[in-house]
Subunit: 334 residues, 2 copies
DNA sequence: TTGAAAGCGCTAACAC
DNA sequence: GTGTTAGCGCTTTCAA
């Protein structure tokens, strides 16, 4: 049962193949009667064009490659949503690849996307293997790196300073008068690492000693992990005045653990999270957090890519800092 | 700056193109010395194979199409994660398309995927336009419909009875002794609709009168919507003894609204949600919910697809009910 | 406005 | 084990 091809449609309609192709791509270039005959034939035969052939012949794929470290994180879901909204509406296909927080997998993902001849790559993060970086630089297509700020962007870089954000969160706690401030995190990816550095910087500047608790995050339970981390910290006799969690889910878990133990928030311990997830504002107590602009990051990245493709020129090094915002709420006495 | 092709590699290595192709796809079929020369040439020239050409020539795409109504929902994120885990590891590429809860967009998505000659389609939901259904039936590839149970699956159907689940949730509340039970939902997609029907069935069987509150869900705030819906219901003087929310996020918002108004949960009003999201177990009060098996749905769908492709035969109508579980917690006095 | 010819970059099938 | 030939299904010239 051979699939129907463009040639089949052409013979059926009694026109040349190229006419069918034109009807499908630029109908205005074909006269009304032929157009109708072709459209009828397409419908009659149930013809579906083969994109692989079209891509090969035209050297255009109308595809954008996107690399994210994980699919299981609302942050990236929102970002992907924004990318989709802009790119799909502009007639592009989005291919999402998941690097699972591994630079090796990221390099493989880049190879796979290049093999597909994607017209641009949007990649979360600025840390790549040397070879990956080389591939991206030599690929001759627009590359957008997101979420972090790079000293040396490949092409375009859109993000925020994770370190400054970490510092700002910590400074907020310091301003509230706390000295014993703990830092809690799940897996220490580059972004959490930077936040941790910001935390240490703020603590150092204030003359305080920091202490962090890091624990690998199992796949499905950032909230539960927050409780676990918090419990562990308390069990060790490390009773802080305030906790900075690298993620709102962790913070929520930590708050629940405290509540379970009769520790008041913020009366006994203040808590600040990161990302300002939806529940933060309406949790109780409402959770202070650092608002990150992942939706805007996605939209802007997509728009930059579209204009670069339109201009068919590779954009020069551009760095856009979308910033962040400290949201002060009840969990830190706000 | 022409891209490096297989022919370039071949001349560089002094072998025929097909030998290069073999080294890349079945290295064992090529002698050691040639293999080394080819690999060196590939590296030296930075050759990246063109998948479009390969797909066209081999008539295999190693691509699976996946259609989901939205990307902005943890349920589908978990499901996609499971699909990715199985399919990517088996050497397939996953192309995800988002139908935005529209059957028309779903039909377009199907066309786009067929145009890409995906080797199987995994689609969330069982409700399609007549034309979409026809396309899927005639496409001669394995089709898996998920999340709901179909009377008449295209090929394979993996899911749960949304209606029974809605009924079970309601019956749980009825057993607790409640008569005035409200049903709260955001947008009424097919699955929520079925849950609503289950709710009405349970109420009817118990001889009670049901009342539902439906409101279109704006993109980013299921929790806030839950508060809004709850507030609206209370403002109208409709004070129920229990609330069944079609989603845990709504339930969380509703609980928060109640707390704000000094309404005790479960002392004044009981609340049950749906999906058993991560926070349900550790919210306070912990939230009763209906656990859905979306992760397993994803894995099983992917596995079924793989074995169908392996057998290169279209599977006959098969329906797999993965069931659900009523999780009784504090919010309904558990 | 329409068509003929050529070729995109790869692989299947068949020789050697 | 290696190469030759042909062709996958489209689109890009260029000519009419």
């Amino acid at each position: 049962m051979r699939r129907v091809t463009l040639d089949d449609v052409a013979s059926f309609a009694g026109v040349s193949p190229i006419t069918v192709s034109r009807v499908l791509r630029k109908p205005d270039a074909v006269s009304e009667p032929l157009r109708q005959r072709v459209n009828a034939a397409v419908k009659e035969l149930g013809y579906v064009p083969n994109v692989a052939a079209s891509r090969l012949a035209s050297a255009r794929t109308h595809t954008i490659g996107v690399i994210v470290p994980t699919l299981y994180n609302v942050i990236f879901a929102e970002y992907l949503l924004a990318l989709h909204e802009v790119l799909v509406d502009a007639g592009f296909q989005v291919v999402v690849v998941n690097s699972r927080y591994s630079e090796i997998e990221e390099e493989n993902a880049i190879k796979a996307l290049l093999g597909q001849r994607v017209e641009a790559i949007i990649i979360a993060g600025i840390h790549h293997t040397a070879h990956a970086r080389q591939l991206l630089e030599h690929a001759n297509l627009p590359v957008v790196e997101t979420f972090e700020l790079s000293q040396d962007p490949i092409d375009i870089n859109i993000g925020m300073s994770q370190e400054s954000a970490g510092q700002a969160a910590t400074q907020h706690l310091i301003k509230r008068g706390f000295k014993r401030i703990a830092f809690l995190t799940g897996n220490l990816d580059h972004r959490s690492q930077s936040r941790l550095e910001g935390y240490h910087r703020a603590m150092r500047e204030a003359g305080f000693e920091g202490f962090e608790l890091v624990k690998q995050k199992p796949r499905h339970s950032a909230i539960a992990l927050g409780s676990t981390l918090c419990a562990e910290m308390l069990k060790r006799g490390n009773i802080p005045e305030a906790i900075f969690c690298t993620d709102d889910n962790l913070a929520l878990g930590a708050m629940q653990e405290c509540r379970k133990r009769g520790i008041g928030i913020p009366s006994d311990i203040s808590v600040i999270g990161f990302h300002d997830l939806e529940f933060a504002a309406c949790a109780s107590p409402s959770l202070s957090s650092i608002a990150s602009r992942r939706y805007e990051t996605g939209r802007l990245a997509a728009e930059k890519v579209l204009s670069a493709i339109q201009a068919s020129s590779r954009p020069g090094g551009e760095r856009i800092d979308l910033g962040f915002e400290v949201k002060v709420r009840e969990s830190t006495g706000g």
